[in-house]
Subunit: 425 residues, 2 copies
């Protein structure tokens, strides 16, 4: 269960303002759902939790089982939307120090790449290369390199059985390569952009390999889809979130900080930053998405949020019921003065830090929204992913941009290709 709570932000957002923006938000929802807006050829993710390819889904689960049985490491090669969703889910639901799924082709650092090469030495591994086209520079470089290492290790025939290509259904360099070499392939749908693709094969295969229950992930997304499509404005968490952030933006809040109190949610924030940054950051518009891990970063950026330039609001991701129980011990000497917490659960302290911080930052004139998720499991994460996606589509239309394109990412590529001497540039 996901709830968007704005009760702490009452000083900054009135019910009248929420009512005033309602027609815009509902119109934006209609534009999204009816597919009448700009970018409407990229809204396949709206119905995805219901209308996905069951046969492919079964193949994803089978491939994940095979990889888990024959590989200590799955090397996922992808960048942007072909990277962040999987990493978000795996880190949120996996162990902090697990390294069964590692990522590459998400940068061009020789040092990082060498560390990955060293890491897989002596470890059985498979590759999931994820690229719609197969020609994106970072993953293409990495795939050349690690495909060769895999073939050198296992021979070409066995290597081909250890490579899984998630790519276009029919065309493109990677699809051609995969068909020619006999790799199993999965589909990046035509109507789902990278940053909305976590619930396609792009995210699902690596997430399943990490041991996450993808049935529960999809079930959560399904449930949230129904809520998003059916519920009235004030009971609709996605619409509320879209409304609230636009109200705050119009009051000159130019930065939104996504806050968590569980460091394993760090990459959920990174995924969210791509989702909102790339969807809204265009035409000289948009709220700049930033993130912090509290209480860690209360000891670094807390001062600024409390009392620096008043340009931001916070959205706090709150895991209501934490599964892990650690109790603060008692100490006879009590030199650290902590005995007042003896017998208390660590999560009780963490929640007190959250409540105290929301109050302090609100008092300091940084509005705080709160997104409650019932617990940190696959079902709730599926709900959260979908809620943020739906809210993003709506929010982008309210802002007056096309939430599904990203024309600005081509400029640096053109410059780069020219410097590199790529034919045609």
């Amino acid at each position: 269960m996901i709830k968007v709570d704005y009760s702490y932000a009452g000083e900054f957002i009135s019910d009248a303002e929420l009512e005033a923006i309602r027609p815009e938000v509902e119109a934006a929802r209609d534009t999204l759902v009816k597919g009448t807006g700009e970018g409407n050829d990229f809204t396949g993710w709206v119905d995805l939790p219901e209308k996905y390819d069951r046969a492919e889904y079964a193949r994803i689960k089978a491939a994940a089982e095979k990889i888990r049985s024959d590989s200590e490491v799955l090397l996922v090669i992808g960048i942007g939307g072909s990277y962040l969703g999987a990493r978000a889910a795996i880190e949120a639901l996996g162990g902090t120090f697990d390294r069964h799924v590692i990522f590459c082709g998400n940068n061009i650092s020789a040092k990082y790449t060498q560390d990955v090469i060293d890491y897989i030495k002596g470890r059985d591994f498979s590759i999931n290369v994820i690229s719609k086209s197969g020609t994106t520079t970072e993953p293409a470089i990495a795939f050349r390199l690690f495909k060769k290492l895999l073939e050198d290790r296992y021979g070409a025939a066995e290597a081909a059985k250890r490579i899984y290509a998630t790519t276009d259904k029919v065309r493109g360099a990677l699809k051609t390569m995969a068909d020619g070499s006999g790799y199993e392939t999965f589909v990046v749908p035509d109507d789902v952009g990278g940053r909305y693709s976590v619930l396609t094969a792009v995210g699902l295969l690596p997430i399943a390999v990490a041991g996450v229950d993808i049935d529960a992930l999809m079930a959560g997304a399904q449930a949230m889809r129904r809520e998003c499509l059916e519920k009235e404005y004030m009971d609709n968490e996605a619409l509320k979130y879209a409304a609230l952030r636009n109200i705050l933006h119009r009051k000159d809040k130019s930065v939104e900080i996504l806050v968590n109190y569980e460091p394993c949610l760090h990459f959920v924030s990174e995924w969210w930053k791509q989702l909102y940054g790339e969807s809204e950051g265009k035409d000289k518009k948009g709220i700049y998405p930033s993130s912090v891990d509290f209480t860690t970063d209360l000891h670094s950026l807390g001062q600024f949020v409390q009392d620096g330039s008043r340009i931001m609001f916070e959205t706090v991701l709150n895991v209501v019921n934490n599964g892990t129980s650690i109790v603060v011990g008692s100490d006879e000497k009590n030199l650290d003065g902590l005995n007042y917490l003896a017998g208390k659960e660590m999560d009780f302290v963490n929640k007190a830090a959250m409540q105290g911080t929301i109050q302090a930052h609100t008092d300091g004139k940084t509005p705080n929204l709160k997104v409650d998720m019932d617990r940190l499991d696959a079902y709730n994460l599926g709900e959260l992913f979908y809620m943020f996606e739906f809210a993003c589509g709506v929010s982008g239309y309210v802002l007056g941009v096309n939430p599904f394109n990203q024309p600005g990412v081509e400029m640096y590529k053109r410059n780069m290709f020219k410097i590199l001497g790529k034919p045609g540039y």
Copy 2:
């Protein structure tokens, strides 16, 4: 060698503006160096690279050797300035997948803490607990817990030899505990605030345990200190950086994004965010410090930086000479079209991405500064740390704030203690 390059920002910063702000910057430098400003009891870091305690420094190295010989894992317990500097150096100079130094007490997450408990099972470990007072909530909770685990594992006598306390020289809960139990202690100096403490025992012990050459780190800081104190304005990298960012801030740039092209620099950015955010984010003032890892985040936040709200500038950390060499291979079929890069070094491609991006973002009206560091080694990192610290002190005085206090971090603590029922709140 560190160089601050503003040649790409010529459209946004004129030589006349740099000359105009010069008196303010030089006055701020004098305030800092002469110790005549607010917070002048916390400027001990200015002379630290020369005036440090050589006997303690030798003990740090000896302790690091012992820990490296008897422990597979050093558990560092600290938060904020007692955490970020060490992590920044260790990740910048160590291997991506190394887990010999791990961090705890830097959050209140039961899940994270349980993962650390599981990780150290069956691994020999020691503890470096870092806290000026010994009563900061997060590290105090973690220290209670892991001290007990260590004592259960090794017995009280041997555990005491595996605990290293970095704390106040004479007073406080942790000092009392350490003296009572016979832990070796190192000093958090009175005149060095947390965020300026990386070159004290706070940073140096964990950094040395990770195998980093701390002699080179200190030598780099020494060299940069002399440059900062002696060089004229236009040849002084710290003064230039302080001037440039204040000029841009006065032109309504409210966010500074620190950019790297080596993911191992991620936590250098986190360290920098505390340094600048906590030093300048007060009195409703300050540039909000943010960071990205490129090219990874070009595929998430690149769109926003290129074409979203024009509220930011970027400062690009550029490692001029990379030590690692990986060459792009050739492929007969060339389906991915990468053969134009065959035989080229990966770092050449990475640098082309950087150059192309600086140009594209500049064209998109996001000013770009560049900080060149000659190579990614301990010496250069020592220079970089000191340059950023010195520039931060100067920049804060130019902004008109006390760069050495952090009054805003007390508010949430008071609220939290009240909720927790701490005696006296």
